[in-house]
Subunit: 211 residues, 2 copies
Amino acid sequence: MKALKIPEATIVRLSVYSRFLEQVDKKGIVTISSGEIAEGVGVSPAQVRKDLAYFGEFGTRGVGYNVKDLLRHTLKILGLNARWPAVVVGAGNLGSALVSYRGFRERGFDIVGVFDNDLTKIGKRLMELEVMATEKIEQIVKQHNVKIGILTVPASSAKDAANLLINAGVKAILNFAPIVLSVPADVEVRDIDLSTRLEILTFHLCLKEMM
Amino acid sequence: MKALKIPEATIVRLSVYSRFLEQVDKKGIVTISSGEIAEGVGVSPAQVRKDLAYFGEFGTRGVGYNVKDLLRHTLKILGLNARWPAVVVGAGNLGSALVSYRGFRERGFDIVGVFDNDLTKIGKRLMELEVMATEKIEQIVKQHNVKIGILTVPASSAKDAANLLINAGVKAILNFAPIVLSVPADVEVRDIDLSTRLEILTFHLCLKEMM
DNA sequence: CTCACATCGTGATATAATTAACATTTAGGA
DNA sequence: TCCTAAATGTTAATTATATCACGATGTGAG
Ligand SMILES: NC(=O)c1ccc[n+]([C@@H]2O[C@H](COP(=O)([O-])OP(=O)(O)OC[C@H]3O[C@@H](n4cnc5c(N)ncnc54)[C@H](O)[C@@H]3O)[C@@H](O)[C@H]2O)c1
Ligand SMILES: NC(=O)c1ccc[n+]([C@@H]2O[C@H](COP(=O)([O-])OP(=O)(O)OC[C@H]3O[C@@H](n4cnc5c(N)ncnc54)[C@H](O)[C@@H]3O)[C@@H](O)[C@H]2O)c1
């Protein structure tokens, strides 16, 4: 790794490359070129090489990349050579769906706790977990050394819930509430704003309408 | 509207401004400056003005923006002066959560159909809707003139399900399956890749670890 | 009425990201 | 062994986005 200023888009693509390489590897393919990766994930070959070049030289000129090697490297870069315990706060519709999702486990994420403050939800089973009161957040986070929290509470509760997570020691939050969280500098937040994503679509539909 | 090349980031921010303005308007505030908007949503004042400037002059120099006016304009730009019927394909964990979400309706989206190909799911009630067989997609899409499809099927079915939507006349797809869809040029696709979002977090956690 | 102030709109500037170009390196065959 | 073809890694050019700086314009006090 040479630089410290990596575009976020590069990380996103790296994640996609890595998942694509898993499929390729499963097919038993040994070697792959930047062009084939590009083809598979819908970007340019130059982009693939550039993205990888931020982190080292993983290929062989004239040949391409060894699939298993490159897969291992991309996973390593993303931190997926280790497993990541995570917790979900808000056991509503969305939180429940996330807890039930097997795909996270396959990528290295283990949901080790689900929390809610609604008495009718506490105690409910979700997969192998039982919904716990938010008072238990700190205990579980410390016990499993959880660094990642997933926020699926209503916007009005998001700030408070985020603080519970941060006070417990969580350093990264995936926030689904449509609100801007302000957090200490050492905490990473990424928002997933589904309404906004739909609105990108309506914007483009309108643009085209006018032409 | 003057230009045709609007950064996607601008659209995303516009959506956020618009939601912020709704809150501000609810508080009865009449006028707001770019600085106050910036403060509220976590960007720079210049960014706010630049974003708005792509679409016209909505403010008054020395004064700021009229909240109601600007809200109306931002909604209009995003196409939210009309309602948008939409359908969900895949009535699993995530699809069910989306159908049950009230926030979409508040922003102008009406889910008018949920589809699945699993017989045990078909006929199940989700809010005021009943899960339908995918054979009904075309009928419902045409009947309601649906332009937006939300894809929440497994990756292995995503391509097929997307084709059903496109053949029925859908022009925009919000895709949750972790796969790259290839679609005709007149169809807009945006992916929501939750694993990737988590991996952005692990990447940053690792970066910090090393310092 | 004029001035001081606040704040917008925008052209200029700086920064960032993508694309393109190419020199370099490897594999493999004549 | 040498030559060709393929595909990388990297530098340069281009394009896109964000920031800055400031002229223009409206408000309200004196
Ligand atoms: N469901 C969706 O499809 C969807 C779509 C877009 C955005 N979102 C956003 O995701 C979030 C969750 O949505 P949802 O549909 O699951 O809502 P929901 O109402 O089904 O679930 C929210 C859960 O959070 C719990 N909660 C409330 N305050 C809490 C607190 N302080 N601590 C712990 N738990 C608390 C509630 O008891 C409830 O169980 C919301 O912010 C929503 O705006 C959801
Ligand atoms: N649930 C999550 O939290 C989550 C997180 C990240 C990504 N995703 C992605 O979202 C998608 C849905 O996830 P999920 O957890 O809801 O899965 P799920 O298995 O609960 O639901 C998928 C549904 O799609 C239906 N289906 C399958 N093939 C179909 C077809 N051809 N036509 C119509 N319906 C079909 C299935 O019967 C099932 O009901 C998947 O692609 C998954 O990778 C989900």
